[in-house]
């Protein structure tokens, strides 16, 4: 049986791991290569490096981080952040990434999804979506897509569910859906958002934003219908181990990868 994936996500800036709370107030939590190796040994099913670097000099550092990781960690690795062209994708894939995650660049140029899928295969292209609930209380829920999340998120005018569907049609092999409302709050994923996306697209959905404990992951995988769960701070600061999360899920009948 296909197992559900537990994916630690490392935010990387200038070659160091940081983790934002609601994308702000970054704290330094160490060397990405060492952390990747540790997560591999701890039973993580996959890893995500999210490059929050601003300058091109620092991007070159990211390529080197990916190369060093790929030399010693033999589980799937996704790299996101700052990927704007198929040449950017190629640089990360050649360095050893298995997938690239695109977000703002895909909103600005949806053809990038199709071009990436055509050049490297859909399995390499993850469409990452930052969504915020915009419906009033009592209305049927609606979520809008934002870019440049952080201090100044910009509305795109796109409906999150429609954009997820379009992304899959264009060739995205997976959809990573991040709730901006839940992100950093540790109160659980936005389950209605997850479920709406999972029911709308024929490709795997990765839940992101808001996880504070293993129960939240269980909810994301059961009620939220997600195929995989992304988490950062609860792992990085040792609040829970990957093994504890898997044990919790296993006890509740969720198939997870064994040791």
């Amino acid at each position: 049986m296909l197992t559900r994936r537990i994916i630690p996500c490392l935010d990387v800036k200038a070659g160091r791991v940081v983790k934002g709370v609601a994308f702000l107030n970054h704290r330094d939590a160490g060397d990405p290569v060492a952390l990747a190796a540790a997560y591999n040994e701890a039973g993580a099913d996959e890893l995500v490096f999210y490059d929050i670097t601003a300058s091109s000099d620092e991007r070159a550092i990211m390529v080197e981080v990916v190369e060093r990781t790929a030399e010693q960690v033999f589980i799937p690795l996704t790299v996101g952040g700052g990927i704007r062209s198929t040449d950017d994708m190629y640089r990360m894939l050649r360095a050893g990434a298995d997938k690239v995650s695109i977000n703002t660049a895909a909103v600005l140029n949806p053809r990038l999804i199709a071009e990436g899928a055509q050049r490297f295969g859909s399995q390499c292209i993850v469409l990452s979506i930052d969504a915020r609930r915009v419906s009033a209380p009592g209305e049927p829920p609606r979520w809008a897509v934002f870019t440049h999340t952080g201090a100044n998120p910009r509305p795109t005018g796109l409906d999150a569910i429609a954009w997820a569907r379009r992304g899959a049609e264009l060739g995205a092999g997976e959809i990573c859906i991040n709730s901006m409302d839940a992100d950093g709050q540790k109160t659980g994923y936005d389950l209605a958002l997850l479920r709406a996306v999972a029911e709308a697209v024929p490709v795997p959905v990765i839940a992101s934003g808001g996880v504070g404990n293993p129960e939240h992951m269980y909810q994301g995988l059961s009620e939220g219908l997600a195929d995989a769960v992304l988490a950062a701070s609860i792992f990085h600061f040792g609040e829970y181990s990957v093994a504890e999360v898997k044990q919790y899920l296993r006890e509740r009948g969720v198939p997870v990868r064994g040791a």
Partner: protein, 223 residues
């Protein structure tokens, strides 16, 4: 002499090479049919579509070399699409011929499987007849491996199916016929059991090369 890892532009080539080197393989990355023909062992990586892969292998003059290499008894490992192209034909984007080294057809995973492609870790159940094969040494039955695929190998001869995985339908995830081995999953991305399988192949290939050089000397294939 180093084993040949075939370079025809497959996306996972660099990671296959990294993983093989990590387990101690002496290898050369090559698209030269002469080098492949002379190599003591051959690895065919793969990601993507069978039609594209077959086109690349034909253009490079590699397609006609591979049946020779396999027939000559050289240890051979096909990975993912590198497994699929070994079959007679593929239904992906219209029925087209493949290498026809193993009888069978590459078919799409059934819609009943749920989401296609299958992306993630799934269990491999070993066939009792193959459980003792050196390629599978020290790997527990039912171990999880990492899969990314929309198509599977419908192998005509069930005796060649050394490992089975279920996604909508049971499908061959490991195929073994004498010196020929192939896996539908990505051992280069399957953590410790993937590395173990690659190490087993390297060990098998080295033992085989040793046997070729010193025909009177019995070498253990175990590691």
């Amino acid at each position: 002499m180093p084993m040949a890892v075939i370079n025809y532009g497959a996306g996972n080539l660099p990671n296959v090479v990294r993983a093989l080197r990590h387990v101690g393989a002496d290898l050369v990355v090559t698209d030269d049919p002469a080098v492949i023909r002379a190599a003591p062992a051959v690895v065919l990586p793969g990601v993507g579509a069978t039609a594209d892969t077959m086109r690349s292998l034909r253009e490079l003059g590699i397609a006609e070399v591979l049946p020779e290499v396999v027939a000559a008894g050289r240890p051979f490992l096909g990975i993912c699409v590198g497994m699929q192209v070994l079959l007679s034909a593929s239904e992906e984007f219209g029925l087209h011929p493949c290498l026809d080294i193993v009888a069978g057809t590459v078919r799409r995973l059934p819609a009943s499987a749920g989401k296609v492609p299958q992306i993630g870790w799934n269990q491999v159940r070993f066939a009792p007849a193959h459980a003792g094969h050196p390629l599978l040494a020290d790997i527990p039955d039912g171990s999880d491996f990492y899969f990314v695929h929309s198509y599977f190998c419908d192998v005509a001869d069930p005796a060649l199916v050394a490992g089975t995985t279920t996604y909508g339908t049971p499908f061959p995830s490991v195929m073994i016929r004498d010196n020929l081995a192939a896996v539908q999953f990505h051992p280069e991305k399957s953590g410790k059991w993937g590395l173990r399988l690659l190490a087993n192949f390297v060990s098998y290939a080295m033992g085989h090369a040793g046997n070729r050089t010193h025909p009177h000397q019995h070498q253990s294939l175990q590691i």
